[in-house]
C-alpha cells in the first residue's frame, strides 16, 4: 500500500425518489493505491450504492469523487475512459451468455484498448491459467459452476488491466463450497498489490486481507479502521450490535 490517493470521496450523497431515500448521506474517505478496503454493514446501509457510485453506475446526487486526479463527477468528464481503469465484479457474475468465454475476456480490450485479438487472447489465457480455467476458454459460460463463473468475471475485469477492482458481494450468490475458490483468487489479487474495494459479508476475508474496514449504516460511514481495531475494539454501538450479529 502507498500513500498515493487513488480515489478521493468527498461528502458523497445519493438520494432516491427526490430525497425521500438517502442511500448515501455524506460519505468521505480516501482509497490509496494498493489498499484493500472492505465495506461492511447491515442490509440497506448503502454499501452497494457507495461502490456503484465509485464508477458512476449510480450517479451521485451530491459530493465529488476524484479518481487518479480527475473529478469524475464533473458532467464534462468522459466516464467511459475512467471506467476502463476500474474493474467491477457483480454478485450475479453477469458474464455475456451470447459469447464464448474467450470473447467475454477479449471484447473490451480489443474494442476499447485497441489491442489485437491475438494480444488480448494471450493476456486472457495467462489470466485464465492463473485461476485454473484455461481449458474452458472456447466454451459458452452456461455449463459452469457459480464459482467458476465468478472467477471468470474477475478475469474479464482484469483483462482491462484496471488500477482498481470493485467487488459487490462477489460470493453472496455462491453455494458455500464455492466461496473459498473465489476468495482465494481475490486474496491472490490483493497479494499482487491490486487496489480493491470489496463489499462483503465474509468477515474472515475482511480480517485476513483487508487493510482497512469501512462500517456503514443508514448511508453514513460510521466507523473505519484496521480490521483488528474494528473487530476487537468497536467504538460505536451500531458496529458493536452489527458484529454481535454476524460474528
Amino acid at each position: 500500500m502507498t500513500t498515493e490517493k487513488l480515489i478521493q470521496v468527498k461528502d458523497l450523497q445519493k438520494h432516491f425518489k427526490g430525497g425521500e431515500i438517502k442511500a448515501l448521506d455524506g460519505v468521505t474517505t480516501d482509497i490509496h493505491r494498493g489498499e484493500v478496503v472492505v465495506v461492511i454493514g447491515p442490509s440497506g446501509s448503502g454499501k452497494s450504492t457507495f461502490l456503484r457510485c465509485l464508477n458512476l453506475l449510480e450517479l451521485p446526487t451530491g459530493g465529488t469523487i476524484t479518481f487518479e486526479g480527475t473529478d469524475i463527477t464533473d458532467p464534462h468528464c468522459n466516464i467511459n475512459l475512467h471506467r476502463q481503469k476500474m474493474g467491477m465484479v457483480f454478485q450475479h457474475f453477469n458474464l455475456f451468455p451470447h459469447m464464448t468465454l474467450l470473447k467475454n475476456m477479449t471484447i473490451a480490450p480489443v474494442k476499447l484498448l485497441k489491442k489485437s485479438q491475438a494480444d488480448a487472447e494471450k493476456k486472457a489465457m495467462e489470466l485464465l491459467e492463473r485461476v485454473g480455467l484455461a481449458d474452458r476458454a472456447g466454451a459458452y459460460h452456461s455449463p459452469l459452476s457459480g464459482g467458476q463463473k465468478q472467477r471468470l468475471a474477475i478475469v474479464r475485469a482484469l483483462c482491462m488491466e484496471p488500477d482498481v477492482m470493485l467487488f459487490d458481494e462477489p460470493t453472496s450468490a455462491l453455494d458455500p463450497e464455492m466461496v473459498g475458490e473465489v476468495l482465494d483468487v481475490m486474496k491472490q489479487l490483493a497479494r499482487d498489490g491490486m487496489t480493491m474495494v470489496v463489499v462483503t459479508h465474509e468477515m474472515g476475508f475482511a480480517r485476513e486481507v483487508g487493510d482497512r474496514v469501512l462500517f456503514m449504516a443508514d448511508g453514513k460511514l460510521i466507523e473505519e479502521g484496521s480490521p483488528y481495531k474494528l473487530f476487537t475494539n468497536p467504538q460505536s454501538p451500531r458496529l458493536q450490535d452489527f458484529l454481535g450479529k454476524v460474528l
Binding site: N55, L57, L59, P75, N80, L81, R83, Q84, M86, G87, M88, F90, H92, N94, L95, F96, P97, H98, I107, A108, K111, L112, S142, A153, R156, A157, M160
Partner: protein, 242 residues
C-alpha cells in the same frame, strides 16, 4: 365422374400449361418472397433503431442531465412515437398506395417500392417486438458492459441487442410469416406478386377456380413450412439456454 375429371384436366391445361401461364405463378412467388424477405430486413433495421431510441428514453428520461443530448433524444422519441402511431393506425394497403402513387409516383420499380412500403410498415411492429426483447434483457448485462468502459451505444450494440434479438427471434420469424400473407395486397398497385399472378391467369382464362386455389395452396404450404421452421428454431433456442 370421368366427365368431371376430364373437365378438371382441361382446366388445368388452360390455366397453367397453355402459353406457359404457370410462369405467372412462379415469377409472382419469386416477387412475393423477395418483397417479404427484404421488407423484413428493412423492418428489423428500422425496428432496432426505434427500439433503442424508445427504450433509451424510457430508461433515462428521469435521470438524464438536461442538455442537448436529452433534447435530441426527446425529439427522436417523439418522432418514433408518431411513426408508430401512424403506421399502426392505418391500413397497410393505404400506406402502400400513398408510397406508390404519391411519394414514388415517378418510379416504376414496383417490387422495390413495395419492399420499401412493407419494410416501413413492418418496422413499426418489429420495433415493439425488439423493444420487448431489450426490456427483458437483464440489466446486469448492461451494467457489466458499462463497467468495462463501453459507452451507451457500444453496450447496446455488442451486449444488449444481440441478446434481445436472440430472445425475440421466433417472434421476428412470425412477423415474416405475417408479412408473407400481407404482401398479397401488392397487386393493387400493379405489382406482380403471387396473388396478382393467379389473378392475371383468371383474367385471361375466365376460369377462377384453379388459379385461385393454386395461389391459396402455395401460401398455405409456405406458411406451414415456415411455421415448422420457427418451431424448430424455438426448440433450438430453448435448449441452448441452459
Amino acid at each position: 365422374m370421368s366427365d368431371w375429371f376430364a373437365k378438371l384436366q382441361q382446366d388445368f391445361v388452360l390455366n397453367f400449361v397453355s402459353d406457359n401461364r404457370w410462369k405467372y405463378l412462379t415469377s409472382g412467388l419469386a416477387n412475393t418472397l423477395k418483397i417479404t424477405f427484404f421488407a423484413v430486413l428493412i423492418g428489423i433495421a428500422l425496428g432496432v433503431v426505434i427500439a433503442i431510441v424508445r427504450s433509451t428514453w424510457d430508461k433515462n428520461k428521469e435521470t438524464m442531465r438536461p442538455g442537448l443530448g436529452k433534447v435530441l433524444l426527446g425529439v427522436g422519441n417523439a418522432l418514433c412515437q408518431i411513426y408508430l402511431t401512424v403506421i399502426r393506425g392505418t391500413p397497410v394497403l393505404v400506406q402502400l398506395m400513398i408510397i406508390y402513387y404519391i411519394i414514388f409516383a415517378s418510379s416504376n420499380n414496383g417490387v422495390l417500392i413495395a419492399t420499401l412500403a412493407f419494410g416501413i410498415n413492418s418496422g413499426a411492429y418489429v420495433a415493439e417486438i425488439i423493444r420487448g426483447g431489450i426490456m427483458s434483457t437483464d440489466n446486469g448485462q448492461f451494467e457489466a458492459g458499462r463497467s468495462l468502459g463501453f459507452n451507451y451505444v457500444q453496450t447496446m450494440w455488442y451486449i444488449v441487442i444481440p441478446q434481445a434479438l436472440k430472445s425475440v427471434l421466433p417472434a421476428l420469424a412470425n412477423e415474416f410469416i405475417v408479412l408473407l400473407k400481407e404482401t398479397s395486397v401488392a397487386g393493387y398497385v400493379a405489382i406482380r406478386d403471387l396473388t396478382k399472378g393467379g389473378d392475371i391467369i383468371r383474367g385471361v382464362t375466365y376460369s377462377p377456380f384453379l388459379p385461385l386455389i393454386a395461389v391459396a395452396l402455395i401460401y398455405l404450404v409456405m406458411v406451414m413450412f415456415f411455421t415448422w421452421l420457427v418451431g424448430r428454431l424455438e426448440r433450438r433456442l430453448r435448449s441452448s439456454d441452459h
